[in-house]
Amino acid sequence: MEISFEPLGDRGVRIGFPEIISQEVNREIRAFAYALEKEEIIGIVEIVPTYVAISVYYEPKDICYRELLSRLEMIKEKLQVVELPTARLIEIPVLYGGQGGPDLNYVAEAHELTVEQVIDLHTSRPYLVYMLGFAPGFPYLGGLSEAIATPRLTNPRPKIPGGSVGIGGMQTGIYPLDAPGGWQIIGHTPVKMYDPQRAEPVFLRAGDYLQFVAIQSEVYQQIRVRVERGEYQVQIKTIKEDEQR
């Protein structure tokens, strides 16, 4: 796979991968990021994996651009055998429809489906977290069924409550904070994707898989109370490398 390096300012390097959003490119990015972290290069401050790149921020006092490039080249050479970390599958409970999902009926009508069919399709498979960005804990998910892909609203709403689960074109995702937005909102999760009060404000990571699970309003209320008390833990399973699609 073609991998290139270029500066991102005087304290960053962008590692570029083929410009296609695909699981294949994402695997390569995760493998490179994993190899890079294992290398523990002194001077690297943080790395930001995205759809088609990894951006490496570094401290020039500890490592200069040229030196970092040669270290990255070495990792690239060794990357023949793709080794991936164990992925996590995280269950996100969602109350579909109702007040928290005002566009569920519209999405069903637009595709001539029943509401139940939309929910089944949305919960039928795990979604790969390609990257996080836009806001703390906002996941860019891949793998939405085309049968429920729905264009954004023509007039974005000024405020979508944090926890809203939506569909925007071929994408699906969760708003971690109150934000303006144009996605079709089909449900709401009581889980806080971002909570500044928590020891780990954001628990999702790029490379995780996310599975939506439909819940009823009673369970929703129970989880909500437990979230407020700080007692709720999301369900996390691990997936071995050969099971990762």
């Binding site: 500066p7 300012g9 304290r11 410009e19 020039p60 990257m131 836009f134 990571r205």
Partner: protein, 316 residues
């Protein structure tokens, strides 16, 4: 408890350090001082570690009362500070008495001042930083800008305010209203036409009123592109310059989103970031290109100065 009482908060006064580093992959905004060099200088002048959280003061300064004898320093913009009615120098350590009132007369030069207090604030860190991230309502003082009646607890000064005599005086920089800003070419440089690139490096761009901690929107001649303005969402560094469909550059600053979807024409070099942060609407910017090597050389020189001043402990 000892601290600072906020009599009047000013336009936008927030607690900032060098930012929330290490969590951008979670989508966590870095925040931190818009002018990191001035913040570090303020800390050096009061004997603090360089990255200690201080107050970032924007255009119209606050009115603050000290409930302890301590040592402070004000750097960055010249907003004409006064203590108990008397003008005081900027870019120099100042002993203040318990009960003193600090206020600001108005903008003389620049946009953002930094107020460091010897010993720093007594504030809990969030994800390793005391920086205020306003949109995320996190960090700093209750995740927000200061308000009237707030009380910010401060630690005991690490310099004795009674015997304090500043060892160094630095000149207040004069922030010109027209600046040359050095940039490194960005990842989508080739998405622009040769004419577009020439425009970018020759025209003057005006800072508009749509400029804040998140980004500076500029206006001037349209920068022409070969292809579309959208890219697959990717990381944006501090000082990254995006050009959306309208062809007007936006410089992404401390509170920028971690990733964005517009073509990146370049990145402002680290030592020139203060030139942007100290700009106000109406100021003019002109861009010129430098290599990564040149930019890093300048950065290392600056770091060397800050490091040696910091080690020298600028107080008796």
């Amino acid at each position: 408890m000892t601290g600072i009482r906020v009599v009047d908060p000013g336009l936008l006064t927030t607690v900032q350090d060098l930012g929330r580093i290490g969590h951008q992959r979670e989508g966590m905004v870095v925040a931190g001082a818009m002018d990191p060099i001035s913040l570090q200088m303020a800390n050096i002048l009061v004997g603090n570690p360089r990255d200690t959280a201080s107050l970032e003061i924007t255009l119209l300064g606050p009115k603050l009362e000290f409930t302890i004898d301590t040592v402070i320093a004000i750097t960055g913009a010249d907003l004409q500070p006064r203590i108990d009615g008397q003008p005081v120098p900027t870019w120099c350590g100042l002993a203040v008495k318990k009960g003193s009132i600090l206020e600001f007369g108005g903008i003389k030069s620049g946009c953002r001042s930094y107020l460091a207090i010897s010993g720093g604030f007594e504030l809990a860190q969030v994800m390793g930083s005391s920086s205020t991230y306003l949109r995320g309502q996190l960090g700093g003082f209750q995740g927000r800008a200061l308000q009237k009646g707030d009380f910010l607890p401060i630690k005991s000064p690490i310099i004795d305010p009674i015997s304090f005599r500043p060892r160094w005086y630095f000149n207040q920089p004069v922030y010109s209203r027209e600046k040359e800003v050095r940039v490194i070419r960005g990842p989508e440089f080739e998405r622009f036409t040769p004419a577009g690139i020439t425009t970018f490096y020759s025209a003057k761009y005006e800072v508009t009123s749509l400029s804040d901690r998140m980004g500076y929107r500029l206006k001037g001649p349209k920068i022409e592109k070969q292809a579309g303005s959208d890219i697959i969402s990717d990381a944006i560094p501090f000082g990254g310059i995006q050009v959306p469909a309208d062809g007007m550059p936006i410089i992404l600053m401390a509170d920028r989103q971690t990733t964005g979807g517009y073509t990146r024409i370049g990145t402002v070099i680290s030592v020139d970031l203060p030139l942007i942060s100290q700009s106000k609407p109406g100021d003019l910017l002109r861009f010129c290109q430098v290599s990564v090597e040149e930019a890093q050389e300048l950065y290392l020189q600056m770091e060397k100065v800050l490091e040696s001043l910091s080690e020298d402990r600028l107080f008796s």
